[in-house]
């Protein structure tokens, strides 16, 4: 049985030796995940705010659907994106299959409902508190959404970080649409899957620890930069 300790040593060895392949994989992982988080946040955060502020027919059904989509199976998303972007698919002409762009698209589809749903819940609570004030001040719907998004920024950051957490650890969809091609679409999770398949558990575990460390580092960096934990701040 592989020793966890051996995995930790392997992780240190990889980082210490400044392995070029490792840094390429880490950078691609960050590029794909952060791009997906930014795009999904640009869609999900205003969508969450819009759902919180507006009343329309089938609103409840829409929110229920959004919540249900949080549990989208990544493999199914990967398969659908694969079919859409394969040569015979409707978007095959763009030639995006087995590129980082296709991986970003798959991750955006997976994490947008998660970000939108958490954003909706945070903004709905704030809207309940602000409702009378913003109506009293004769603000437009656009102003209300802008105000709510700004004032709920700390909760919305959590929504985006939840999306980041899901995307950085995702393997099923990006394996299908990216193909795990060395120096092209190989990211940490697909590399771990590959090394596990080859039986190199120590290397797989080492990459796993680097992945965990990376996720923690990005979360902490965002928290520090946005000053979420400062006394009396939001």
């Amino acid at each position: 049985m592989i020793d966890v300790w051996e995995g930790i040593l392997q992780a240190f060895r990889l980082v210490y030796s400044l392995d070029r392949d490792l840094f390429e994989i880490v950078l691609l992982s960050l590029y794909v995940t952060l791009s997906a988080v930014i795009v999904a946040s640009l869609i999900g955060l205003p969508l969450g705010a819009w759902l919180a502020v507006n009343r329309f027919r089938f609103r409840r059904a829409t929110i229920a659907l959004l919540n249900a989509l949080m549990g989208l199976p990544p493999v199914v998303v990967g398969l659908i994106v694969y079919i859409l972007f394969s040569r015979s698919g409707p978007f095959g002409v763009f030639g995006l299959l087995f590129t980082p762009t296709a991986m970003i698209i798959a991750q955006v589809i997976i994490i947008t409902p998660l970000i939108a749903s958490i954003a909706h819940q945070a903004i709905r609570d704030l809207w309940a508190e602000y409702h009378d004030l913003l109506i009293s001040l004769t603000t437009s719907k656009k102003q209300r959404m802008k105000t709510l998004i700004w004032d709920a920024r700390r909760s919305l950051l959590t929504a985006s970080l939840a999306g980041f957490g899901r995307a950085i650890g995702e393997v099923g969809a990006i394996m299908i649409v990216g193909g795990n091609i060395d120096h092209v679409t190989r990211v940490l999770t697909t590399a771990i899957a590959l090394e596990t398949g080859k039986g190199d558990f120590a290397l797989a575990l080492g990459l796993g620890f680097i992945l965990i460390g990376l996720a923690i580092a990005v979360n902490m960096a965002i928290h520090v930069l946005s000053k979420t934990e400062r006394g009396g701040q939001w």
Binding site: Y130, T138, W234
Partner: protein, 237 residues
């Protein structure tokens, strides 16, 4: 500038979940005055203010401004019993109505700083509004209501749960606004406060209008038995 006053309520009825909150109320608010709305808990004071401000819709009757409702709305402000503290600094809270009405950030911030000074919040203007005490929150809410220089301000029990010092300070701010030409309609349970501030008093009980009279008349020779009992500290039935 178009004036939105007088404000006239004609036979207004408000119902919520099959319960009548206000019944057949007719009132006339002159362009100048400091009206105090009094009555026991659950009498409909808050609903009356919310109705006039457009936050409630009447089931029957009408609320008429001397201008159109569309013109009247931006000329009013409302201070809620529990002030809403937006998740931003004191100065940004006060500046918000200016920014919402398209005033530049620089101008609105400078005006908000003046208002923070006027209401005694200059020393806390940069801190987050949720960190303020109860009295400071009310001062902030009043500054935020007054920054756009509305013609009419509604205040719903602005000094409830405040100590004597904070109450006196808020009364001072309101008196100054009134002297500056702002029309004020305010609810309170504090009879002493009503005597100090009111030019006229509206008394309602169980959703019905009992009395609307000049302050001197109301406190000198109250007509309705409910108002008399209320002023004597008796339980109002």
């Amino acid at each position: 500038m178009t004036t939105i006053l007088p404000l006239v309520l004609e036979n207004v009825t408000v119902r919520k979940r099959d319960k009548t909150i206000l019944k057949d109320i007719s009132l006339n608010f002159a362009p100048v005055g400091f009206t105090i709305v009094m009555g026991p808990n659950g009498s409909g004071k808050t609903t009356l203010l919310r109705l006039m401000h457009g936050l409630e819709r009447p089931r029957g009757g009408s609320v008429k401004w001397s201008s159109s409702e569309r013109e009247a709305r931006p000329q009013q402000a409302f201070v809620f019993q529990t002030p809403v503290m937006m998740r931003r600094s004191v100065i940004d809270n006060i500046a918000y109505p200016q920014i919402a009405h398209g005033v530049s950030r620089a101008t609105s911030s400078s005006k908000a700083a003046d208002w923070a000074d006027n209401v005694g919040l200059a020393h806390v203007k940069s801190i987050e509004a949720t960190n303020l005490s109860g009295g400071e929150r009310q001062k902030l809410a009043i500054a935020r209501a007054l920054i756009n220089q509305p013609e009419l301000v509604f205040l719903d029990e602005p000094t409830t749960n405040l100590d004597g010092k904070s109450t006196r300070e808020i009364e001072g701010i309101l008196q100054k606004a009134f002297n500056g030409g702002t029309r004020i309609i305010m609810t309170t349970h504090d009879i002493g406060q009503a005597k100090r501030l009111a030019t006229d008093v509206v008394f309602i009980n169980r959703g019905e209008l009992c009395e609307h009279s000049p302050a001197e008349e109301f406190f000198g020779a109250t007509q309705s038995s409910a108002a008399r009992a209320y002023l004597n500290g008796d339980i109002v039935e």
